[in-house]
Amino acid sequence: MGAKIRDLLAFLRNTWRGLTAMRTALILLALLALGALPGALLPQRQLNQFKVTQYLNEHGWWGSLLDRLQFFDVYSSVWFSAIYFLLFISLVGCLTPRTFEYLRQSTAKPVITPRNLARLPHHARGTVDLDVDQVVEASRKRLRGWRTVVREEEDGGRSISAERGYLRETGNLVFHFALLGLVVSFAIGKLFSYDGQVAVVANGTQFCNSGVLSYDEFHPGLKVDGTQLDPFCVRVNSFAATYLPTGQADKFHADVDYQSGEDLATGTWRPYDLQVNSPLRTAGDRVYLLGHGYAPVFTVTFPNGEQRTKVTPWPPADGTTLLSSGTTTFDPPDTTDQGELRKHQIAITGLFAPTAAYQGTVLSSQYPAPNDPAVAVDVYQGDLGNNSGLSHNLNSIDQSMVDQGRLVKKVRKNLKPGEEVKLEDGTKIRFDKAEQFTQLQVSHDPTQTWVLVFAVLVLVGLAGSLAIKRRRVWVRVTPAGEDEPGGRTVVEVGGLARTDQAGYGEEFTRLAAELLTGKDT
């Protein structure tokens, strides 16, 4: 039993030693770099679900193998987490003893002068016509800023041990601890953060951060259930974009009002000029203007004379010309009978061009500004399939309904603002105009300030640990022997860089030359 425990302890100790060795840390770092790389080369679910699906469809067994190995979720994969977890332990194991060593050294005296200074990497020797004590005093003055200790030696000589550059280790520890802090705050942030995207039509439409359902898309952290979002509301009054003649966007402005905190109760709205690069920060959340597009306005006049108008954002299909595609749907009015409803639902689906250009009758767009808006639409009538309980993309129609013949294409037409098209049952569909919509993102990350603080500390520590050199110099001053030519006192200087040798030579040469004069200037 005792032997078993001993074996186990030995195993644990050896594992610990192995894990905290520098060589292991180097290999783990290499694995981290290698492990992160697929994330740059393969599509990632976190960034673009659509591209992942496309890749899977195109690559067959190879794709599904990669998928099973979590190559499309690299940064949350088991193996990537394992690498950085091990690295984390290795780092802690390396830092703990170093911290104690650092604390011990922070009060320690510089080490005793080696017997033979000539064996050190840097060495110089000379004689002066001064007393031993005068030289020691002058040298101590010259070594101001160094931590020094003067020791008496056997043969009537004295020596100075001097060391400086202790801040290098300080910087080193600050760097590594800050790195730990950064990773921890990043991880905590991932638990409690959320972001959501929503398209808001820029005609005074309001958006309130009241729950997950307010969003088109919502990405919660692991500990976010979407019930306790920070309450605030945003109203998008108008949106303006300017473009260069080439069609490249030049400026985006969204004129918004917002309310949060006490303003929610009093109903006060505060104005904000929302722009790219200048998010609205309120209630602990940030609201970004990430994109924009057009929302065509359609009015449907039903056979009984009733009218319905709808504004639905149609997302841009082409980022430069803003040719957009989307679907606007209508339910017939006053129908409670599900069967009747499902025979007369209407879907208007197709393309919108802000500045129309035609090749034959095919609509395309030649410029992103709304100079000559037009739509090219197919109008369907029948069962949209949106009551089937299955989710489907709101920007397109349910093709399976069309295939089953339950949703029937009635007409295909190009429309300009004010133009309308009539279906055989008397329903009229008019394209009124196009509004603009803003694509907003709401982000919440409670620890990002901490990440920034740690990042700055990382930088400070890094600069300190790379710029400062830890180095030692020893001066031995002895009375000259009978056979020594020159002055009556021998001065010997030895130097050693404790860390990378690069660059100590020049400083030592300069310092030694001054020390060998035996004077303090």
């Binding site: 520098m22 060589r23 840390a25 180097l26 770092l29 290499a30 981290l32 770099a33 992160a36 790389l37 994330g39 740059a40 080369l41 990632q44 976190q46 960034l47 690299v74 940064y75 990043f186 972001d195 260069l244 080439t246 490249q248 966007a249 030049d250 400026k251 985006f252 722009q275 790219v276 690069n277 200048s278 998010p279 940030r286 970004y288 990430l290 993102q441 982000s443 990350d445 990002q448 990440v451 920034l452 990042a455 700055v456 990382v458 930088l459 890094l462 600069a463 790379l466 710029a467 860390t499 990378d500 690069a502 660059g503």
Partner: protein
């Protein structure tokens, strides 16, 4: 926003002239290379000279050789190369400056401009180092990748002068991109030094290897120190640039870090440089292994600059390459 077409045209001319001048400078450097004999050979000839009864007193260092005329022809050609190189840098700098004046913004808003700026930093860094450490004879090796990059920039990556898109209209464009460009330029120089170190080191281990090329290089430890010192300056700067990028990303894209391909690659490069610095402090990893790691880091940087911008599509796709 208007673009000053005249200044833009002058900028393009200055750019093209700079590339031509660089090529000329490279030719001069190569001629100097070809005319300078490797040290070993020179020593052999000296021994012969001394043995044949000459009372030549040879002082140390290649500068004093050959003693007959004040400056050798090779030296003269090398200096002409350097003069051309300086002229090239001036033209190159003018091209970058005029781009900025023409568009009334910082001149690194697309791939062509960024490529040009980064090369300018690399050449200036090189000239400073070459003056300080007497490294002129290596210049051709540094100019070669630069000329290739500039040629690609002027042909495949070229885009006409225009204002930048809204996402780039931020003061962070000045800070983040310039810091990244400067640090990348420096790290590129460090990478070249490490490549040369590997060649020279192999040559020193076995004089038969890379004899023609490596014999003319500075000693291995000089190259090693050069690579290390430049990296030690470039790496914190690169770190600062990445942090600036994160701050900018927070206000432009809604998160400070999102594993965008460019971010991921910068992270990978950062980690590899961290390995390099640790390796230099670890017994058994100094020298060759450390240099190999530095070269890997360099490859990641170049990969990040080109492949990521041109091939993958991410948020950093501002290349402006049609």
């Amino acid at each position: 926003m208007p673009v000053n077409e005249t200044l833009a045209r002058y900028s393009d001319w200055a750019y093209a002239s700079a590339v031509v001048i660089y090529v000329l400078a490279m030719a001069f450097y190569l001629v100097e290379q070809g005319m300078t004999k490797p040290k070993r050979q020179r020593e052999r000839e000296l021994v012969i000279a001394v043995a044949s009864g000459g009372e030549t007193v040879v002082t140390e260092g290649p500068r004093a050789l050959p003693p007959e005329r004040g400056i050798s022809r090779a030296e003269r050609i090398g200096r002409m190369g350097m003069a051309l190189n300086v002229l090239g840098v001036l033209l190159h700098g003018a091209a970058v400056l005029l781009r900025g004046l023409a568009t009334e913004r910082v001149p690194w808003g697309n791939m062509y401009e960024y490529d040009s700026a980064i090369c300018l930093v690399a050449v200036v860094t090189w000239l400073v180092l070459a003056r300080k450490f007497d490294l002129r004879r290596l210049s051709a090796f540094v100019l070669l990748p630069i000329v290739i990059l500039l040629f690609l920039g002027g042909t495949a990556l070229y885009s006409t002068a225009a204002p930048v898109q809204p996402a780039l209209q931020s003061y962070w464009l000045v800070i983040h991109v310039s810091v990244i460009a400067v640090s990348s330029g420096m790290l590129l120089v460090a990478g070249v030094a490490s490549v040369l170190y590997l060649l020279r080191n192999a040559h020193e281990q076995n004089p038969g290897r890379f004899a023609r090329l490596a014999a003319r290089l500075p000693a291995a430890d000089v190259l090693d120190r050069l690579a290390y010192r430049v990296t030690v300056l470039g790496f914190p700067l690169f770190t600062f640039g990445v942090i600036c990028g994160a701050i900018w990303a927070e206000s432009a894209w809604g998160r400070f870090w999102g594993w965008d391909p460019k971010e991921t690659c910068a992270f990978v490069a950062w980690v590899v440089y961290a390995i390099y610095l640790h390796a230099r402090a670890t017994a058994g990893w100094r020298g060759n292994r450390a240099a190999v790691i530095n070269v890997v880091a360099w490859v990641v940087m170049v990969f990040n600059l080109f492949f990521i911008n041109l091939v993958t599509s991410g948020l950093h796709s501002y290349a402006g390459v049609a």
